[in-house]
Point group: C2
Amino acid sequence: MTDTRVTVREVARAAGVSVATVSRVINHNGRFSAQTEARVRDAIERLHYQPNQLARGLRQQRAEAVGVIVPNISNEFFSRMIVTLQAGLFAAGLSIVIYNTNHDPDMERQCHASLAAQRVSGIVSANSLEDVRVAVRRDVPTLYIDREVPEGGLGPNVSSVMSDNVASGRLAAQELARCGCARPMVLTATAGFPVTEVRTRSFAQELARLGVSLDEKRVIHPPATDFPSGHDAVTAALDAGLDFDGVFAQTDRLAMGALEALRERGVRVPQDVAVVGHDDILLARFSRPPLTTIAQDPERIGSLAAQIMLQMVAGELEQGRHELVPVRLVRRESTMRGQNVA
Amino acid sequence: MTDTRVTVREVARAAGVSVATVSRVINHNGRFSAQTEARVRDAIERLHYQPNQLARGLRQQRAEAVGVIVPNISNEFFSRMIVTLQAGLFAAGLSIVIYNTNHDPDMERQCHASLAAQRVSGIVSANSLEDVRVAVRRDVPTLYIDREVPEGGLGPNVSSVMSDNVASGRLAAQELARCGCARPMVLTATAGFPVTEVRTRSFAQELARLGVSLDEKRVIHPPATDFPSGHDAVTAALDAGLDFDGVFAQTDRLAMGALEALRERGVRVPQDVAVVGHDDILLARFSRPPLTTIAQDPERIGSLAAQIMLQMVAGELEQGRHELVPVRLVRRESTMRGQNVA
DNA sequence: TTGAAAGCGCTAACAA
DNA sequence: TTGTTAGCGCTTTCAA
């Protein structure tokens, strides 16, 4: 069993060298003879020595850990992303410290304070509300997930990884157009959410290119992005007599709420209304009907994030990296109309 | 902006006191006049002082952090549990460091080594394969989730929290019996998984009490607990001509795979076969037909875990606490036969 | 190639 | 009530 008590001192004594030499061997620093190294490694092995990360961190002025801030880790997108992020960082000896903010700005401030106090080597911030300008003043490498970040002038300590949201909007537009939709509706997030606004814009643009116009009154901002919000928004739209024959819902949960509302009112999907979701969560293939959706790749995002974070921590980046991860359309029954069931 | 550079020294100087006094005020330790306290707090405020957790941890011989080891955080049960666990610990100033092991014993060893090196204050281990006897020798408080732990004699540093698995088995048995099932089948985990074995045993016992017997040949151990395993196991059972009229699947994913296999073969649920799942994941209400299942309460488990961990860390426990969290039957269409659609 | 020693920022024992 | 100081375990000059 790893004995918590052993220190460099013990190892040094056991190996018959100084603590400095032990440290050199551990960190591959400076020079030492092969013989010395062997003796030290042997002592480490025998004593089950575990370098104290607290002491090392104090000395180096930073912990071998990265902070991860997400709205809610039980969101499938984030939890899947974190799996690969964690694996990638762990392989390089970095641990991850996780916080959920539930989009609460105050909680977010507390998390950042806690991470500062822990002197983490970097911060991965997903979909945070925090002001980027504030972050830039910090000197700790920060990587934003799913977040529009001004590319230039932020220096080497700010990077970002996100899905190709322009492609998302475009693919959704193409799919609904292919279904022959003439009056498409959008269920998006609360107004002002950059990522979803990009998608909506791109959606409208591509529709226009295809000769379909997106009417402002059919762009709906539900209070949240969950199932009930989708359900209620569509129910309200039907009640208000809003006329639509296609839906682009910016989360699958919104889409599934929409499907339920439509079914309740006897509106047929895809015959009367075609529906495209976004994310491709596990649920999507089980909805009634199974949901066509724009799949994100959270695993890819996580491993890319790990890679970039490691580069930033190592000081290898002259400039922040800003990466777009491809999305793809997953066609299921909710858009299977005659013309595209090839 | 939190300035990373400020130390107790600066604060002490600014407040016109010694570093010891600053430390006392911060930690509510020892005595100090109200006036001194005010001056110190003021200085802390003005300088945006953030105590260095690395230094504090080194001095105290332990970090203000708890390690969390799970098979895979993208498993809904764990991610939901972690949300409340994290919140509960954060409120007490503890961060959580997370690892995924994917049930790999070697990875698990590495994680424990890493946590030891970080001198975490405690470890929450979910469904781990690690030997408890090994853990007992460690002096760090360890809390097992979903894990049978011998209650006595482990001392104050080992606790456990899990669902009431005996109740799970009983409820499933009652539900299938109520459906009139005479030849129930069980889809469980790989043999030797303690938690699921408890459920199976309790299931069989309650069935017996109700006059139904569980035939060994209808207890099936699929290779994994996911959708394909459930699908393949049921398909194989049908192919083998196994006769059954009810299924207790020990995860909802297994259950959903079973539903799909049954549908493919034209077996009607619930008319021909009634199905009960376990966990109540988000998906369960969307299956075809919607799945009756035994709901676990991961949020409750997480917050209880936080509470117990805090007690252990504070040294308030004479004995480890071993808590059972209630489960409940959520009845949906997969068991709605005439006799119990009340 | 190796060792001695300073010091990272903090807390706590001891003195005053 | 407050201050002085040792030392947690490590890395890294500086000297040898």
